[in-house]
């Protein structure tokens, strides 16, 4: 993995907070900014990345003793256990050690080649999958942590920050997703899952807060249609919030480039 400049984990203690959606859009957006990007989906039981990027019928191929990732575009390579399943209703009923082995293969045996970023979409929780990937990928830049505003989600996400601390993984910041819903008829904003919980929690746990993304039924439709909304609904409030929030991740590489230009 020496040819990968930046390794970013997208984590959450809680499922269903939009983690895979944010990971996919982050990877697409970085690649649209001229970066070479890999997207590694290590959600073994519920791989969402193939659907999110409309790559559902694609399969991985062998290249010598290496696995060739699926190409979303010239600058975005994707690996997911979803590419290994015969049918979308197939389930991998696997215990931890088998999951560790497949993640190890995805790290060591995939021809990622030179990447500016590897974005890793992790399943919820603090079990085998996130533990394996953090141990296998050393020198990661850190984790982007996704939550929704309600206390029930915050509770699990705090555990996720504790996980990062115990494994010496820097927390790049917290994103509060599904923060408020604006009625398309009357414009009334309702805080369906409350609001502000992610921001308060980030302060309490002393980690950076990256920002809020509102609930937008267009995002749900874009996800289901396999069209990343950063490229397809690029002017929506949610897409704009998203780009503003993720700029610090893009700056990681831009700053590295500036520094290496200074040195030479």
């Amino acid at each position: 993995m020496e040819d990968i400049k930046h390794k970013i984990f997208v984590l959450s203690g809680k499922g269903g907070v939009g983690k895979s959606c944010i990971a996919a859009n982050l990877a697409v957006w970085l690649s649209m900014q001229g970066k070479n990007v890999g997207l590694l989906d290590i959600d073994i039981h519920g791989p969402s990345i193939p659907k999110l990027l409309n790559l559902e019928d694609r399969k991985v191929q062998a290249k010598g003793d290496k696995i060739k990732p699926v190409l979303y575009s010239d600058t975005l390579k994707v690996i997911s256990v979803g590419f290994l399943l015969q049918d979308e209703s197939n389930a991998l009923i696997w215990r931890g050690p088998m999951k560790h082995n497949v993640i190890k293969q995805f790290v060591n045996d995939v021809s990622w080649d030179n990447l500016d970023y590897l974005v890793v979409d992790c399943p919820p929780g603090t079990g085998d999958e996130p533990l394996s990937i953090v141990q296998l990928l050393s020198n990661a830049d850190g984790a982007v942590i996704v939550t929704t505003p309600q206390q029930l989600a915050i509770l699990d996400v705090k555990k996720c920050i504790t996980f990062c601390r115990q494994l010496d993984l820097p927390v790049l910041g917290v994103i509060e997703n599904m923060s408020g819903f604006v009625c398309p008829k009357c414009g009334q904003k309702t805080d369906v899952f409350k609001t502000g919980g992610g921001k308060d929690m980030a302060m309490q746990m002393a980690v950076p807060f990256l920002g809020q993304i509102p609930i937008d039924p267009q995002i749900v439709q874009a996800c289901d249609a396999g069209k990343p909304y950063v490229s397809n609904s690029s002017d929506s409030p949610a897409a704009n919030a998203f780009k503003r929030i993720l700029t610090p991740i893009l700056e990681l590489d831009n700053n590295t480039q500036k520094q290496s230009a200074k040195t030479t």
Copy 2:
């Protein structure tokens, strides 16, 4: 576990669909109908049941060589890994074999005594936790499967039904949660996460469909406040939908009683 008449798993392939909320409300509601109920939370990395039932400061106690469950009421006993944590931000960074061991203890070493129902709240996915509990609790009545309507959730929930089939666990039915949001100002219904996806999927997979529960910010607030909405907002559309949907579960025991009355 011979003293437990009915064993019900609440499962979902996807996180964040409201599974724990439904498990907690199912257990509370059954106990309100005069049943003796146990609620077993096997979500090791994100236990939500203590918060949902306002039992966060409670700890389990020993009773001889048995573990005493926490009492929510005279007729509802609760066990969760959350009762073993010092602090809510503590994370159990555990691999599969450790998780299997603690689930085994929760099944064998807890003094559940006589129960009409044991409701098991499982974490998302088809990995160690659901696999262990299904193997440890034989002769279960089956699984209630929770989903949200969008395709991205449906995809994971199909895997969950495949999991049930492979382990010979009957599917009692599918619940479509967060199905449509009604603006509190103008009454406009928006299908935030689409609608009907759970019903279509149940037909496609040939399993019973139990019904839809709408999005209701009061449910989110009730969950965060530790007040189960079946008992606290008993007249809301969501609470009514919930009771109608779960009646078949209550009938499982009522039918058993009628049958045993006939035999004697």
